[in-house]
Symmetry: C2
Subunit: 447 residues, 2 copies
């Protein structure tokens, strides 16, 4: 352990994030050895950091008094986050180490559902009664600085009703008149707030839109329950965009980083959607069975099935990813669906015509150059492929753009409209479109 003692020495004065990165490379016993040698406030910051892997294992490896001291110095929101997903053991054993005050704060934070504003908030904020002066407020801020997550936003409370009146920034306080009432430097009449049940996307949207460093979480009576700070929102945003990316890839969102997921959990997260998509895609086999006679007579038609179906899926995937993001960013609302439809139809038709021309040219060139013989009716086959591409790419763009709207309308997350989901939807209809076009064009010749 000599090496580790030396490392613990070297950690003094290092950034917390760097300490965390180093601890993540060690076993939980070795990490606990180092944590035991850090000053308590630094150790608490290490556990407050969102990047620390397996904090409960490290805590469980520490002796009880050390673990209790660290838990006591941790931020309330991180403490709640830590206990939210903790397994048994060491959950009960560590909970017992909390002071009764901390225990009741954690218990109340844990009542909020995961991902809500209430679950992200910390109770360690600065609030002062509205009858205080700026001077009194600054004195208070200096005293409590060490025990608050942020002091840059100060919440001014009605001394009788305890309702939130104003939000004041430290930058305006320190340049204000010390004898003026604290509320006099408030920038706005009504501070921006969220309810505890708001989801983290909404919190992130408000923080980014109003350029806030923290947002107060209030109940219906405007009592401040806690605050969500900008650094927690950034963590939540990163998590949310990871989940959206995984959903769009066609699977359930993972709760943990890729390398930390167990084999069986990974299978479970992926198999569900794969099976649903597989069962839906079976409809393509049924559709093709329906056209079996045509297939027997014109096997040449099958050559282009993958090409045509994938073009529909690709254009659908483009449209879906566009609309999911535009909905998430608030650029589009539910009521805009027909505007989008009116836009995607001509876009799809233009893109389909473009691909259709390439497809027809391909068949003509292969035929004329003698690379492959599509038979005497090659031109009609090319025409079938070209027209089918126009129809299917138009349909793909329309279906892909409407799917997120439909999901949102039905109360689902629009981000569940994954690329594979759209592709499957378009594949089945695409086959029917292709064979219908073929019947129209080739009736009397090949079919």
């Amino acid at each position: 352990m000599n090496q580790l003692t030396k490392e613990a020495e070297e950690f003094r004065g290092k950034h917390v994030a760097d300490i965390v990165q180093k601890l993540n490379e060690l076993s939980s016993e070795a990490a606990a050895f180092i944590v035991a040698r850090l000053p308590i406030d630094v150790a608490a910051e290490v556990f407050d950091h969102s990047s620390l892997d397996e904090p409960q294992d490290i805590l469980a490896s520490l002796d009880a008094s050390r673990a209790a001291a660290i838990l006591d110095a941790m931020a309330a929101d991180r403490l709640a986050y830590l206990f939210r997903d903790m397994e048994e053991p060491p959950r009960e054993q560590l909970l017992a180490l909390l002071t009764s005050e901390a225990r009741s704060v954690v218990d109340s934070l844990l009542t909020h559902p995961e991902g809500s504003a209430g679950s992200l908030m910390t109770t360690e904020f600065v609030s002062v009664p509205s009858n205080w002066t700026i001077g009194e407020t600054l004195k208070h801020v200096r005293e409590v600085e060490g025990a608050r997550e942020t002091i840059y936003a100060i919440y001014v409370i009605d001394p009788t009703t305890r309702r939130l009146e104003k939000s004041v920034s430290l930058r305006r306080l320190i340049s204000g008149d010390l004898h003026a009432p604290v509320g006099s430097v408030a920038r706005y009449d009504a501070p921006i707030t969220v309810l505890p049940q708001a989801d983290r996307e909404e919190v992130a949207h408000l923080i980014s839109e109003y350029d806030l460093l923290a947002i107060p979480v209030v109940d219906e009576k405007r009592h401040v329950l806690g605050i969500v700070t900008v650094d927690d929102v950034i963590d939540a945003m990163i998590e949310a965009s990871t989940e959206d990316a995984q959903k769009f890839g066609g699977m359930e969102a993972l709760d943990e980083p890729y390398p930390d997921i167990g084999f069986l959990t990974m299978l479970k997260k992926r198999a569900g959607w794969l099976a649903v998509l597989f069962l839906s895609e079976m409809l393509t086999a049924s559709a093709m069975q329906h056209f079996e006679d045509e297939l027997e007579r014109a096997v040449v038609l099958t050559l282009f099935i993958p090409l045509i179906m994938s073009s529909g899926g690709n254009s659908g995937s483009q449209a879906t990813s566009l609309i999911i993001r535009a909905l998430a960013l608030g650029e589009l609302r539910l009521k805009d669906w027909w505007r989008v439809a009116l836009r995607e139809a001509p876009t799809g038709a233009a893109l389909g015509s473009f691909l259709g021309v390439i497809g027809m040219a391909r068949i003509a060139i292969w035929q004329e150059a003698g690379i492959f013989d599509y038979g005497p009716h090659w031109f009609l086959i090319a025409l079938t492929v070209g027209l089918a591409l126009v129809a299917i790419v138009t349909f793909g763009s329309l279906a892909g753009s409407m799917l997120p709207f439909a999901l949102k309308r039905l109360g689902f997350d629009p981000a569940s409209a994954s690329a594979p989901f759209v592709a499957t939807l378009v594949d089945v209809s695409g086959l029917v479109i292709y064979f219908s076009v073929a019947l129209l064009v080739l009736q009397g010749t090949l079919l």
Copy 2:
């Protein structure tokens, strides 16, 4: 314009974000009418807000002295952002309104490529020489508060070399001893910095990892060029995840919100990738031409082509979205590729076996229930489908997970590995795998 005058009145005391939202609903002339009636500092904040649509059109509709006053009061980073993409006119005309000082700041900010730390930074930060006391620093901070983007991070500079020595937070300053040297309350020996050429993902990563409110941008000699604040990073993160989502959907990233994109620009952004994918997917037609004899003899095989191909594409899309995110978040590095391969191969095999069993059951049930007659060799066909699914889903998971690594190794953005890209890759190989399995299983019976 009476209605508008009334609205301008009502905007007093409103949040800037709310004013911006309202202005975005108006024509640029009507918006200019309102902006002309706002106090200069509020008007400047409106133009500093990243959500304002078409700021250059509103500025061009204002009279020159008003526009000049607003430009003068705007933050340097927003000013540079505004001029970066501005069209001619009104670019020259508005540039002429800048003070020569502002003009030279904007010119120097514009030398940094878009999306780099240098292009995101503002030059309006607080720096003090290291021989100042905390008292002197606080006095200075109070004086310059109105003209700085943030005063919560203060940069301590060597008075001779002008190099960055420390970074001090306002919260530690206000609770410090007024006669102590300013650097004495610095938390860490060396502040976290970025070079101007760092990209915005790296800036976002550092800000989120080290829980910073601002990060200084320094040159090689550690002279501070500017700072990037957390609100700009949030905007940049939202933009980056939108671009990644659009790329993963299989198109070029848009520079503007979906409703603001012109029809032709939209076509251009989507047609490129669609055409590339279409041309690659043509290989499926070539592959199938190669197996034309087999197709003629066993048309029944074609029934399962879409089903089998899409399963490969879906599993590939899952794996790709997982690996792109894990790479973006730094959970995986380039050197981890073989670890991922060793993981995805058994995962793919397990998922493929799962789908294979469902597929074989489907054929057996349809055959036994008399829904469809796959002929006397139906069991061998089912076996072909099952084995092909195992092979193709394994291949899809492997190819999908390796593609982002390969792109990154070649210097491309791993996020270019879109779901359609993977599907196309897997489609062509999937067909070859399917027919190869069929030849093996059905040789001597159907083939």
